[in-house]
Structure formats: C-alpha cells, structure tokens
Assembly symmetry: C2
Homo-oligomer: 459 residues x 2
C-alpha cells in the first residue's frame, strides 16, 4: 500500500481506538478517521465500577486517549457522530454529527460498534421507553453519572447478574457502605466463566461479605412516587416469591453485540449474534473489518464460535485489523483463549479456555488442587485453588481456572501453554521460579498437572 | 521391574529426599535407604537466611520431612551416616554411622551429595584448619546456629558476595538492625543471573537500603583476641585499600559441587565441576544416578553445560531419577531453563534462560521495558522492569529477566514459552488476563515482546 488510503473506524472504544493507533503505526500515510457516537474520547469501560467507590477518583481518570492525543498522532476523532448507514457500493458512511448529516468516504472500514446492555423483561422496568427512575444499566460514563446521583441518596441496592461486572459493581458499592444484594437467575455465580466447583469456592468466600440470591429472577418493580421502591423476586426452583425494598437496581446481565449497521450491509452474523470475522478480522464484505464486542470468533480449543466481550480480545483484534487495514499482514491466533480475570471482595480469580459446559465430559480429564503461594515453612503464604482440564486422548491442556493469590499471572502461564498446544506431560516439567519468599519449589501450577497426569495414564 | 530392588540414596537434601519419595511412589515394593551425613532430616536450605531475621521463627520450622515421615512412607532415613566409598563391582556403599562402619548393598544408587561452600583465599581466614571465630559460611543449620550466636553479640556485619544468597542474608540481617555491608568482587551484583542493565536497576533500588561495595575483594582479616575485628578491602580497579571494622563476616561466594565419591568411582565430571548426567539423570556408570547441586546439565537454549545449584532443578532431577530408579521411564526436558527468583529489601526479581554473557551478541536481539502492574488509570500499580532476549534468526525466545511486581509469575509465562520453543511473534499474541484491578489490557510481558518484534524485523 503506497498511496494514501483512508480508513474509517466506527466507534472509539478500546477496539476502535486501538485499531486507529495500529493502523497509523503500520503506515504513517494512512488517513484515519474515527466516528464516535458518544461525547467522550477513548475511555476504559472496564474501569467504570471503580469510580462508584472512589477507588478511581474521577470519571475523567478513565480517559485513555484524548482528542488532542489522537490529533497529535495524526488521527481524527469525531465525537457525537452517530453513523446511520454504510454505503458499500459508494464506499462511504452517512452519519449525524450534532444534528448535521455528514458523509465520509472510505477505502477501508473498521466496524467497532461494541455491544449494548441486555435489559431483562421485568414488569415496570420501562416508563415511556426509558428505564424507570432508579434502574440503571452499566456500560457508559453517563450510566455511572446517573448511578452516582442515586448512590448519594440511597442506601440499598440490588444488582441483577453475578458475572464479573455484577460482582465488581457489588464490591464497589459495598466499599462505600451501600447495602447490596446480588440476584442471579442461575444456580451458580460466574456461570459462563467458571465451573461449578470453582464457582462454589468463590461463592463461599464472597458470600461472607455480601448477600447473593441464587436461582432467582426479579419479576416486577414496584414504584413509589414514580421511583423504584420494591422488587418482587421469584425463586426459579421453588416459585416462592419475596419482596425486597431497594433504592436502586443495577442491571448486569450481559450485553448483546451491536450489529445493526453491519447486518444492514450483509455482514454475516454468527450464531452468537456477533459479526463473523476471519483471522485477519475481515468480515465477509470486502474492505470491511470488524473488531471487539460486536464480533464473534472461534474458541482456540473447541473451534466453536464464541462472543466474549473481553477488552483483551477487542484490543488484540483491533491490533490485527488496524495493521491489516493499513496494508500489513497480521493474523490472530487460530482462536481466542478467553483468558479472563477479576478481583472483588479482595479475591483474585482468573481463567483461560472453555468451561466444562462447552466440553464433552468423556473426552476430558480434570484435576483440582488447593495449595499455597509459598512453601509451608514460610509465613504469609496465601491460599490458591487451581483447576485444570486436559484432553483425554492427546493430553493437551484445554483450560484452567484459579482462585486466590496471583491467580491471573498463574493463569497466564496456562494460557501460554494452551497457545503453544502443550501437553500436560510437557507443561508439568516446567521449571517454575522458586524462592522461599516468592513461590514453592513445585508451584501449584505443576502440582495440579501432576495430579491430572496420573488420571490421564489411567484413562 | 517386578522384583524388590534396593535403592540407596546418598544425601537427604531436596534432591535425595525427593528422589526417595518419587522412587517409592513409582514402585511400592522398592526398598529405599537414604544415607545422610548430617544429623537433621530433610530441611530447606533456601530457607536458612530467613531464620536469622525471625521471619521464619525457628530452625526446626525448616524441616520438611522428618525421619518419622519417611518411616511412614516406607523409606529408611539413616542420619549421621557419612558414605566413605562406593564399591561399584560389589554394588555396595561403605559408610560410617556414629563411628561404626556399615556396608549397604544397592541395586540402584542415587548420588545427591550437593555442594560445599567456596572459601575465598583471604589472609587469616583459617585458624588451625577452621574458619576463624566470626567468619561463617552459610549452607547448613549448624552454620546458622553459629551466626545466631554472633548476631546477639555484634552489630556490624560484612557479607561477601552479592548473589541471591548474599543479598538475602544482607536483607535478613538488616531487618533486625544489623549494620550490613556487602562486598562484591565484580563490577555488578547478581552477575551470573542478571544482565548488567537489569542488575543496575536492582542495585539502584537496594543500595538505598544497604551499602554495597562493588569491584572489591576482602584480602585480609585482622583479629583482636583471636576474633575477627577488621577487614582489609581492596578495590580491584583502583587498588585502593580500605579498612572496615566488623563483628562478623559471612561468606556467600557460591558453592562447588561435592563430587569426591562420584569421581572416585569414575563418574564423568564436566567442565563446570559437576557430575555429567543424561535426561534420565543417569551418570556414565550403570545403575548410578546423580541429582542436584553435585551435577551439571545442559542449558535448554545454549545446550552448554551449566551447574546452577537451584533447588527447583534439584527437585526436578530428583523426580526423574527417583522414577527411573524404580523402573519408570521419565525424561527431563532437553535442558534446564534456569528459572530463578528471589526477594530482598521488598524487591521481587526473577529470570529464566541464559544471561547475555552466555550468548553471542550478534546472534541475539534484546528489548527492555519499564511498565506498571495495573492500567495507568488504576491506582496502586507497581513498577516492573522486564527484559527479553530472542534469537535473531529464528525469533525464538531465549531468556527473560524481571524486576518488580509479580516478577516470578511473569517469568513463569516466559519459561513456559521457552520450554515450548515459542517465537516472539507467537508469544506476543498471547491473550493475557486483563481486569483493571489486576493487570493492564496488554500486559508488559506482551509490550516487551512487541518492542523486540520490531527489532527482529529490522535485523
């Protein structure tokens, strides 16, 4: 690519912003324009819950790259710009910026439209097409601003959804003395990211600090003076209903890919609802890429489509699309690892690879181990529980889940091993770093592999 | 192996003790006898420095497996038993136990004789073949007991040697208010484990808390009433001499493999002074294995012999020798990774793979990066410096060094990548675990690989 090409990017989240940067780095002459519907520059959505507690003092702290920063980098960021339509034949996008209609031609287009929060079907949740006063989704800076107003007034909150975000919000509200309850429709917390046994360990730890109501659905909101006052909650197993008085309700039941623009131009949408992209992050439409939460991709191990909504994946797709759009040649690995982590109520958790629900149980072997971060004789060792799953036939590592000390960095070692398609036999021979004040001679990443290795031999 | 074989193990350090355990696990009918010259059961040598400060309260806390424990496991441990000779033809060992001469036949023998501290040639260091009062090496429980007596009396200490152990001792003495100086003959600390640039970072951090005298050799001990009083220290560059008053002197200038028994029976000794063993941990003599600090092995990357003295390697060799001696078939990886870590003066450091000194500079590419453990917007992120070395031609990762937050676990990911022979291009695509409170979207393990990746492309 020698001529100056124009790359238009729709959306300036982690995906769009990163794609712009890497496109520019790849080819200095690329003209890059980001169209962002919101009024803010690139900010960290994942950091939002921490502003509620003040752990992150101000919302503006979340800004990662300002309009000025982009300008200096030779990238144009146009905020308040909502793309209405993509015209594939004329290679242009039609958008509305501050009520004015604008058209922008493109040589290459990167769709990074993200996702929108799912609103569960609760009676009275809407008042004239808007969420009723006191009910909030959590996806944007404006959502947090609204919640912050309620935080000042109310002292009781209910969070629906015991996934990463729901629990992070609960933790941050709890930190400032809000009485929080978490309502989860399923029989376990963190269903899509942790297996039942590991989820139970996490539940036992955090339920000491917060009420979690499992197997339960909020069915109705009762209001008082046009504002939320009480929730009707039904146990899905017993059908018993209970009422909970609350000052506000936060919805953290996941997101759905925002694909309407892509759908309209014939981008293939996968089973999960995300735009299908290849290893170059190309859609099926020529010159159009897609990255981030609006896409689906194959899981590295199962090769089945997944739609994850992880910032880490969005950023890696964005690097790929950005480089390729600017004439480079860069491939994603043959699937996403779904490496994930969170920390709430002082507990660090992490995982990589599919959970048991996505695997066929007689084709796998599992092992779990609870150990400590330091040798037994060294004071201050912290507990860590580790689970590993391997393929019965090949012995290859499929996934791992960790709860406790340095869960994330330990899981990164497993992620490396999965990416390298290592077997348990090879990985268990890893010389892990050992020193009494840092880690045991045989780290628990090795011990758990030794356990599963024995099971693999019996099979 | 169906018949009952007798496995004799010389030495009950981490190597001997672990070999015994794995030999027994591999084959319940194996008869296992450990002959240990000291009076203590298996204990952690690496934990010794921490008893000085009281971080580990008692020396007996270091005992990992007692004689009773071994007995229950069906393993006989004979302490106070010094092996004098191995008779290869008659397949027996001759030892002295409490002044009585005993003979023990073996079917298989595992030599785990460890290493002995090197005593530098300092004038007046010996008095009648013994270290003069106030001078200590640090290798055994008895060494620590002696030092503990001096700690009570003295308030000034000099440690010779700024390697892992020297600095750990300095830290632990410093913790209890001893005025410690470290004297290092070389121009940098940690020469064999860290490159000059990384060593400098460590030096700058810890020299705020302790005096380190580089390029200097203790040439003479001056005594007063038969006890150490003053040291003569010479700068190796300027030849300028200075005198330092001290109450005691600790020698931490490394160890030499203890191979006299092995040498006498014709075991091949390598360039490094260690017994040469293969991937099964066999010596060149039939039915005789060797493990731990008394051996040398090939480095995974350079395939050159190394003699490391790391507990982590000793234990992994011991697992291998134990299983094989009991009729199993278990191989070490094709070399040792030399994964290593330590923590002193609050600073965690770690490395894996050879340092630059063992590499040919025009065949490698290096990159270093200083980043933080958390995203910039999240408070509490801790600094971490990371260096990575790759092979210019293949792009494979050769080694990595880290200073700061979670250095060890981050280095474990690199160790995994090296063991899997991954290239920088593959490893930099790793999806690392991301969450604002845990780690950045692109962990610095990836950033440093991205930097080196660009250099690899220019080459």
């Amino acid at each position: 690519m020698n001529q100056e090409q124009k790359i238009v990017i729709i959306g300036c989240g982690a995906g769009g912003g990163t794609a712009a940067q890497f496109a520019k780095k790849q080819h200095r002459k690329s003209k890059i324009l980001i169209l962002e519907k919101g009024k803010y520059p690139q900010y960290s959505k994942c950091g939002l819950p921490y502003v509620l507690s003040g752990v992150i003092p101000k919302l503006s702290d979340l800004f990662e790259f300002s309009e000025e920063w982009f300008k200096k980098a030779g990238i144009t960021l146009s905020t308040n710009t909502l793309v209405d339509k993509i015209d594939v034949n004329k290679k242009k996008v039609i958008a509305k910026k501050d009520d004015e209609i604008i058209e922008e031609s493109y040589d290459l287009l990167i769709i990074s439209t993200g996702s929108k929060p799912f609103i569960p079907p609760i009676k009275n949740i809407f008042l004239k097409d808007k969420l009723i006063d006191g009910v909030f989704s959590i996806r944007t800076i404006d959502d947090i601003k609204k919640i912050q107003n309620s935080v000042k007034k109310g002292k009781r909150a209910v969070v629906i959804g015991a996934g990463f975000i729901g629990l992070e919000i609960a933790d941050n509200l709890n930190k400032i003395g809000i009485n929080v309850k978490v309502v989860e429709a399923l029989p376990q917390i963190l269903l899509t990211t942790f297996d039942e046994d590991m989820s139970k360990i996490i539940y036992n730890k955090i339920s000491e600090k917060i009420d979690i109501i499992l197997n339960s659905t909020v069915t109705k909101i009762e209001t008082k003076n046009g504002k939320i006052n009480q929730l009707l909650i039904k146990n899905n197993k017993t059908n018993i209903e209970q009422k909970i008085i609350t000052d506000f309700l936060i919805l953290a039941v996941g997101c759905r890919p925002e694909v309407s623009l892509a759908k309209n131009i014939g981008c293939k949408i996968g089973k999960t609802g995300g735009i299908i992209v290849n290893e170059k992050c190309e859609t099926n439409i020529k010159n159009i890429y897609a990255v981030g939460d609006c896409t689906e991709f194959l899981d590295f191990v199962t090769k089945r489509p997944v739609q994850i909504g992880l910032g880490s994946i969005a950023v890696r797709q964005a690097i790929t699309a950005g480089i390729n759009a600017s004439g480079g040649n860069y491939l994603m690995p043959k699937g996403v690892l779904q490496t994930r982590t969170s920390k709430f109520f002082g507990l660090e958790i992490a995982g990589v690879g599919p959970t048991m629900d996505f695997l066929i149980s007689d084709k796998i072997v599992t092992a779990t181990f609870k150990g400590f971060s330091l040798p037994p004789y060294f004071p201050g060792g912290k507990p860590i529980s580790l689970k590993v799953i391997a393929d019965k036939k090949s012995g290859k590592i499929i996934s791992a889940q960790a709860v406790g000390n340095n869960a994330a960095q330990r899981i990164n070692s497993f992620a490396t091993a999965i990416l390298a398609e290592m077997t348990i036999e090879d990985f268990k021979k890893l010389e892990t770093a050992y020193s009494p004040a840092v880690a045991p001679t045989i780290d628990i990443v090795t011990i758990v592999c030794d356990i599963i290795s024995k099971k693999l031999k019996i099979k």
